[in-house]
Symmetry: C2
Subunit: 220 residues, 2 copies
DNA sequence: GTCTATATGATGATAGAC
DNA sequence: GTCTATCATCATATAGAC
């Protein structure tokens, strides 16, 4: 059990003498457990076991379960900023043509973020918890709309960013993005879960492109 | 508490004398509770209270919790058959142009099915349970792929229906369908949850159309 | 920082009276 | 068919020793 704790210990530069790395081990284990089982399914005991520590320590460091969840879902890197950086790079690469390929860039950026274990666990933890907890649902709502509205800013003027149409477009994009994550990582739907990033970029990118910039019918 | 049981009693024709509506009341309550809270979140006690009966009766009629869940998710009407009927009607209405509007027909049919409480509760129960239970995930996989592959049959020859490309197309459709249900009913994402059926048909239909019949990139 | 021991409560399931 | 009573299990959370 103690091996897991040692394994996640990193040679930190500024860490004070006497600290053991237990805090980080618990947080990593919590992210994995919440990601795999959701808020209700994950237990303090299970998280403690995965981190190789005593259950009482979890409470000692992070207090109640809900606070631990909030801490575990709060990543050291902010996905929306990572995505913005990816978008900026794509804009550089494509030039004026960027506006017609922003949907593909979005899929590529999201799949790239989800390749790393920590952001993926956090995203799955939010999805798995949102279905039974209104608090988690609110967190997931903020996360996806925030991330996607940031993407919309890349194509629309900031002044238009919070009007009704923009929110409608963003929520449509959100349906496809959440459904992609759900089907690929939670449901593990067969031909989709094993498809390559570029296949999915080519397949789903244009759909997002249409939601972002296309004609959506008579009402809009 | 007993009012709920009386309220759901229907004047059935072939019911034997002496039977109360308790069986059906329990099943209805179970569907509502599983739909609202998922398998783990729903409790036998809560279901019994919603049905206005004693918790022991639930076990008496349906045995273990898992059997009750299976019974509650099994609807009297089969959604894929309802959807096939809707599709046939649309094909009648549109004639040769039907093949270009099958995506819109699919969205219209699904939203129509989800308007009724029982199928919607069953769908939400599967989604809410699939995130923590592998058994429920398998049920949801079967449900969506079965429903969507049935739709694909409307546009492709049965001989092509189970090859790799068809499954790939079906899984892409599944991402958008699941994401739509999740965002609209679970997350209740604002501009989307209140949008009209026809708005969503116009917005999402073409995306599904492309997944079903369009060009999906170099690999396919 | 780390642990043992425990308070407190909810759950699924069963046995058996009426 | 319907109910009361109860068991065994597992959860979060806390108090306090070392």
């Amino acid at each position: 059990m103690t091996e897991a704790r040692k394994a996640s210990r990193r040679p930190g530069a500024g860490r004070r003498a006497g600290e053991s790395g237990t805090r980080e081990a618990i947080l990593d284990a919590a992210r994995r457990e919440f990601g795999a089982r959701g808020y209700d399914g994950a237990t303090i005991r299970g998280i403690a076991a995965a981190a190789g520590v005593n259950p009482a320590l979890v409470h000692h460091f992070y207090g109640a379960k809900e606070q631990l969840f909030a801490a575990a879902m709060r990543l050291p890197v902010v996905p929306s900023q990572v995505l913005s950086a990816v978008m900026a790079a794509e804009r550089e690469r494509l030039g004026d043509d960027f506006v017609n390929h922003i949907g593909e860039a979005l899929v590529r950026g999201l799949l790239g973020i989800w390749e790393a274990p920590e952001p993926r666990s956090a995203f799955l933890g939010l999805i798995r918890s949102a279905v039974t907890s209104e608090r988690s649902a609110a967190m997931l709502r903020e996360f996806v709309t925030g991330t996607i509205l940031a993407t919309l800013m890349q194509v629309a003027r900031p002044a238009d960013a919070d009007d009704r149409t923009s929110r409608y477009r963003a929520s449509l994009v959100a349906t496809q993005v959440i459904g992609l994550g759900f089907a690929r990582y939670v449901l593990q739907l067969k031909p989709l879960a094993t498809a390559s990033t570029e296949d999915l970029v080519a397949a789903i990118g244009p759909a997002l492109q249409r939601y972002l910039t296309g004609d959506l019918g008579p009402t809009t």
